[in-house]
Each structure stands twice: as structure tokens, then as C-alpha cells.
Amino acid sequence: MPDDSLAEGVVARDEIAALAELFDRFEFALDPLSREADEAESQFNDQIENLFESRVKPALPEHSPVSLPVFRRHVCHLCREFLRKNRP
């Protein structure tokens, strides 16, 4: 099934699809203590931070309440929705 449930944004839908794959590998890991889950979480966090610093922060209005942790939680939420619709 094509992953066509997202419209484009400052963060592209392909990037969300890739982040959702990582999110799936740690948030819903059957063994939360596995090395794979640990590595996926670390990659996910690195990519979120990179996205935030390089593209999101510059696009935010002055005094925006959107911090890195807030952005991260929004992405997590989008990943949940993405997985529910595309990887049931």
C-alpha cells in the first residue's frame, strides 16, 4: 500500500515515514531492552534534533513556545498516526 496519507510540510512526508520506521522499532519493540530498540531510539532522537536545529527552529516565529521536546512529541504523535494508517 502506498504511503500517501501525508501532505508536504517543512519536514517532508518521506522524512516522517523514515522516522516512523525508527519509532516503531523502539516504542513498540517486543523487547524494549534489545540493542536494536536502543539504536533505533538513538537514531530517532539524533534525526529529530538535526531537523529541529536545521529547519524547524529557523522557521519558527520569535518567542515561539515550540521547543525541541515539544517538537519531538508532535513528531512522535504523527509517527503513531502514520503507523496506524500505513503499517497496521
Binding site: 501525508l6 501532505a7 516503531d24 523487547d31 524494549p32 515539544v70 504523535h77 504523527l78
Partner: protein, 142 residues
Amino acid sequence: MKSCLSFEEVLAVGEPRLAEMQHVGDIFADGESAEACAAFTQQVRNVEAAVLHSYAIAATVARKADSLEEVAEVWKKMSTFCHSALAILARLKDKYPHCGTTELYDRVLDYKLACDKRYQGALEEKQCLTIALPRGLLPEMR
């Protein structure tokens, strides 16, 4: 026949394992005897299997959940299950020091922390969604 089980019912399947471990743990006066350790080691294996299996089901249920409230509820219940196992193990790990008890205690504690992290994450996610992102920052779900 098509049947569905709630996550509560799944956890209920594992609860007798905890009760049995407590029962067997209390039977022996000397936890370091060979007979006692053999019996308790079997209980340790059973409870480990129940925790790991229940956690895997919790992750599967949380993945399919329709709301963050449902996600939080699943992890809270799984954390409570781990807490119940830890309470029994904490009481028995000194009595049965050579039967895998300490190792299981540490492992269940790690699983409980994983549940708590996901529970807390769901609550934080819900809270963060009250802060709107500027439109167009993230792709919208169609």
C-alpha cells in the same frame, strides 16, 4: 470462532504465575537447599516468561491504540503487573539468592522502567499537543 481479549484479561492470565511464585517461595524454610532452589528456579522461569510475554502483547496493543489515553492505560497496567512481580521478588530474593532471583528482579525492574517511560511519554505527548505547531511545519495527515 472469533474471540477478543482485553489487555486486562491478558494480564489476568499471568497473575496466577505471580501468586504461585509467592506460594512456592514461602513453602521452604531454607531457600538455599537444592530442593528449594530447583522448585524456585522453575517459578523464576515461569514469571519471567509471563512478564516478557505480557510486555510483548502490551507493545502490540499500544501500537494499535486509537488514543493516547488508551496507550497510557496499557502501559500503566503493564507497569502495575511488573510492580506486583517486583514486590514478591524483593521479599524473596534474599531467601533464594542462587536461583536466578536477583537477575529476574533486575530484568523486571528494567521492563517496568520501559513501561513507565512509555506511559509518561504518552502523557507528555498529550500535553504537548495543546501547543500548536505553525501550519506547514509538519506534513498533515489526510
